[in-house]
């Protein structure tokens, strides 16, 4: 290409708007119209009530009828499942605690040698001393019955999806929905179907835990080497022989990852299910002590949950990895010690339920937290109020309403609005002159959001804004999907609540993206940092959602800020992990080429590693968004507004219609966000030729 040609195309590029800037211009135009004409035409800002459809009522009627039909079957099932559940519960409670400890320790030995054995022993001894032994065993009984159900269901679905390509699409869509529908939303219809009681928790956890199993079975089967498959065919195996003798065993490793995820999901759900009526299980203890503001006890009970989670997670994860054979005699020896201690404790009259050796710790935590909040109450309050008044609140209701003399020292007036837009316009102009048209336009849109607040955004801006982003990320199809799905929420009458949810999760995701991105970058640059951050990430990912509420409650009481922090704590992990992974997984030859070109450490990081990591980091962001939505509903327990609260309320009133519509609205938000980010990630991947 000649120099003249280069110049001319360069000039053309300046004039022709990119896809991104076209979309931004479109959104800005809508925002402008809504902002200027919103006062005259209220329907431009608020969706007219006359046009909302009573979807909640329809859902109540529709699903109610459906549930009525299946209720007898479901109740029979409840009846049937209660037997194994009670049986296992009885068994676990009747088994003397030294035997249980010995069995878990021996199991740990066989699975992973000394490390796992120690983990099992220390963990269970902690449970013994905590005084929550009975509650813990009851929870384990639920898991022990729900997990086999989930494994069976998941494997069956996975195999069906693999065997029948036609089923696969449907199954994948279903699994997507099942993973985005918030956990509480599951519970309401199940509650109506199966009645109150622990069995609902069991069934909910089986349903909730089946998808990860199904996904991993499908993935494992798909990843079986073609030649292994062909070798089974050429050996003359029937389809069934191929599947069960070759393909499933060859996929063991992936399937074991599924088992691990299944176990964790089941445990998490069993604990959450305590919200609908516990029965002396550990989730119920956490909830109860939390409600009574007995933070020391809540902390202790929460620790028991975490201990269970860690033991189950690490042991089942070890199953997925190739491991050396351990000496069985040692395991037998451990069981023998268990028997001896059992006999001794029977004579000595020890019983774990009488133990409360750690109540002192609980009291100490209580006083400790009390003293801490007493001494640093002002600091904590300042932190909380600063974040609320200068961060969350303006984001929610806009600077125009959030800026008050009481907090900011002055009242927001039309003059300030003009200043805000003036400054934004100047920045925008500079950016446009630097040929960064999209960035310039986005600055103007952000100024509009800052003034109005997310909760007050005009509906056309949100709906068509999502559509525009969809168009940039994945073309017309994605744009249509985003508009239609959001439109459904709009006409359902849940729009305002949806915006509130959007605001809180948006704020959390934004915070996570910044903090997580920075921590990820730090972990990528320094292996010392990663050695420190990694176990924390592992721990945070193991903890059932519910438990995140305890520490934030201890320090910040009930309220939106606590919810925000809990969401951030949970949702930040994938951002850290994916950022680090993306930044460190640049192929060696590319790095060598960069070094050979004379790039320094930071130059390599930003010029080579970062662009290469972009798709991975976007996937991390995607996970963070999904995590945030999942936690949002749980956080409703400690005071959030929006859809999460609706779902939680519906659960309390067994209101199936509201529960399902609000759950669906939540799932739609998550799904749209997921698709948009995935679209960008895919676009980046293709641009990099990955």
């Amino acid at each position: 290409m000649s120099a003249a040609e280069t110049v001319s195309t360069g000039a053309e590029r300046k004039l022709a708007l990119t896809r991104g800037s076209q979309a931004a211009l479109f959104v800005l135009a809508i925002a402008l119209v809504c902002r200027l004409l919103g006062a005259q035409f209220e329907w431009l800002v608020k969706w007219p009530a006359a046009l909302t459809v009573p979807m909640t009522d329809w859902m109540t009627w529709l699903v109610g009828g459906f549930l009525d039909v299946f209720k007898p079957i479901a109740r029979t099932f409840t009846f049937l499942v209660s037997y194994p559940m009670e049986g296992v519960g009885w068994l676990l409670n009747a088994l003397p605690w030294p035997m249980t400890v010995a069995i878990v320790t021996a199991l740990g030995w066989i699975i992973g040698g000394l490390r796992m054995a120690a983990l099992g022993f220390v963990g269970l001894m902690f449970v013994v001393f905590s005084g929550y032994w009975t509650e813990g065993m009851n929870t384990l009984a639920l898991v022990a019955v729900s997990v086999p159900l989930a494994l069976l269901l998941g494997t069956a679905i996975g195999i069906a999806a693999f065997e029948f390509p036609r089923v696969k699409g449907a199954v994948n869509a279903l699994l997507d929905v099942m993973q985005t529908v918030p956990t509480f939303a599951y519970l309401t219809p199940l509650l109506v179907l199966f009645g109150f009681g622990p069995v609902v928790g069991l069934i909910a956890s089986a349903i909730y835990a089946a998808p990860p199993m199904a996904r991993n079975v499908l993935l494992g089967l798909e990843r079986v080497d073609t030649e292994i498959r062909e070798a089974a065919v050429m050996s003359g195996g029937t389809r069934r022989q191929q599947l069960f003798l070759v393909e499933l065993p060859a996929a063991t490793q992936q399937i074991m990852i599924g088992v691990n995820q299944c176990l964790m999901a089941a445990l998490s759900m069993v604990i959450i299910a305590a919200v609908i009526g516990g029965f002396q299980d550990i989730g119920w203890e956490v909830l109860l002590t939390m409600r009574k503001a007995l933070f020391g006890q809540a902390f202790l009970a929460g620790s028991v949950v975490v201990v269970f989670a860690i033991i189950i997670d690490r042991m089942s994860a070890a199953l997925a990895e190739p491991r050396p054979q351990q000496d069985r005699k040692v395991a037998v020896g451990m069981l023998g010690v268990g028997v001896l201690v059992t006999l001794w404790s029977m004579f000595a009259g020890w019983s774990p339920s009488g133990f409360a050796a750690l109540d002192g710790v609980a009291a100490w935590v209580d006083t400790g937290v009390g003293t801490f909040t007493g001494n640093h109450g002002a600091t904590l309050d300042t932190f909380k109020n600063t974040s609320m008044f200068y961060g969350l609140l303006p984001l929610r209701i806009g600077l125009a309403e959030a800026v008050l003399p009481f907090t900011w020292g002055f009242l927001w007036t039309a003059k300030h609005t003009a200043m805000l837009y003036g400054v934004a316009a100047v920045i925008s102009l500079v950016l446009v002159l630097k040929a960064r048209v999209t960035a310039g336009l986005v600055v103007m849109i952000l100024a509009y959001v800052a003034e109005i607040g997310i909760a007050h955004l005009a509906w056309p801006v949100v709906v068509f804004g999502a559509g525009a982003i969809g168009w940039v990320a994945g073309g017309w199809k994605l744009a249509r999907l985003a508009v239609i799905l959001l439109g459904l929420i709009l006409i359902s009458g849940l729009w305002e609540r949806a915006l509130l949810s959007l605001y809180l999760s948006g704020a959390a995701v934004f915070a996570c993206a910044i903090v997580g991105g920075a921590l990820g970058l730090w972990s990528a640059m320094s292996s010392t940092a990663w050695a420190f951050i990694r176990p924390i990430c592992d721990l945070l990912q193991t903890i059932p959602l519910f438990v995140f509420l305890i520490p934030v409650l201890m320090f910040f009481q009930i309220g939106e800020f606590s919810a925000f922090l809990a969401i951030c704590m949970y949702a930040v992990v994938p951002m850290i992990r994916y950022t680090r992974h993306g930044l460190t997984s640049t192929p060696d030859d590319i790095l060598e080429a960069a070094t050979a070109s004379g790039a320094g450490k930071w130059q390599t990081m930003f010029e080579v590693r970062a662009p290469f990591a972009a798709p991975t980091i976007l996937l991390g962001l995607n996970q963070t968004i999904l995590y945030a939505f999942a936690m949002l509903v749980i956080a409703a327990l400690i005071g959030t507004t929006g859809l999460g609260q609706s779902i939680y309320l519906a659960l309390g009133q067994a209101d199936v219609g509201l529960g399902i519509t609000a759950g669906a609205a939540m799932a739609i938000l998550a799904l749209v966000a997921d698709r948009l980010v995935q679209g960008f990630a895919e676009e980046r991947r293709q641009a990099l030729g990955l």
């Binding site: 030649e227 062909e230 070798a231 050429m234 195996g237």
Partner: protein
Amino acid sequence: MTDTNSTAPAIAVEDLWQVFGENAAPALRDARGAGDDKAIAKELKDKTLIPAVRAANFEVKSGELFVIMGLSGSGKSTLIRCISRLIEPTAGSVRIDGEDILQASDKRLIELRRHKLGMVFQHFGLFPHMTVADNVAFPLKMQGAGKAERRARALEVLELVGLKGREDTYPRNLSGGQRQRVGIARSLAVNPDIWFLDEPFSALDPLIRRQLQDEFLNIQATLKKSIVFITHDIQEALKLADRIAIMRDGEIVQIGTPEEIVLHPVDDYVAEFSKDVPKGRHACVESILMDGIPDNMPDDPGIRVGMTLDTALTKCMELYEPVPVRDADGKLVGAVNPHELANALQAEEI
């Protein structure tokens, strides 16, 4: 159809097409009107379909080692998968001992695979969760053979491939060469008549490859299977084959003995392959005999029919006396024997 006398070919492939893409079969039927195979292929490509195998025609005689050679993407792996019906060909017929296996029912196909067909894979295709012996015995298990019988036969075949004593290890503990021995043992476990080998040695180091090629030839010398052998390596093809089919872009461009391929390539593409091949090692004297016999010929150097060109050349050179060797200034520095020269050119007999 049912003509299964001993002279019938073990495998007969007729006008076999494999077209990938949606609605390939009707598209191929429509395209048939376009004219010759090239025109058909072009028309299919225009419809964004991929004609991976085009009008393949060949026969493999009983006990013959038939090699299909081509570069990656030439359709050779697809072709062997069509013949073994691991994938369904779009059109054409494949007869094994006279039986059209494309028409065979699923049940019959399983039957054939359990008793008549064996296959070796490029990346071995070993079952990671089974021991070596269990891997080898797997086809027998499918047949329904008893445990003891399976074990006995597995050990027997493992000894044949030189893996005695390794029967209870897992594939992950074996080297690449050993793994492929297991693959070979497994494919031989049911003593099949037809043996498919899909680039069996391509994933191995050159030294191991050569060793396994030699052992493979030894095994074939005793077992006399009818073999379809896929490779991308012309040296391997020339070394092993009774006949070679050369593929390009899904088409078989030439079928012939190694000598024919080397001495009479049908086009530049085939010639390009055999360019670096020492012709003297693969061609025989009779391929370059003169028309008629001259009257006066010198002493008989002992050249025989079937001798390679290299050997014949050495024999001729033995007739000559040593000749002088001089330095750049023309000063005599020594002498050399012409037959030594010829010997030095001749590569070691393999």
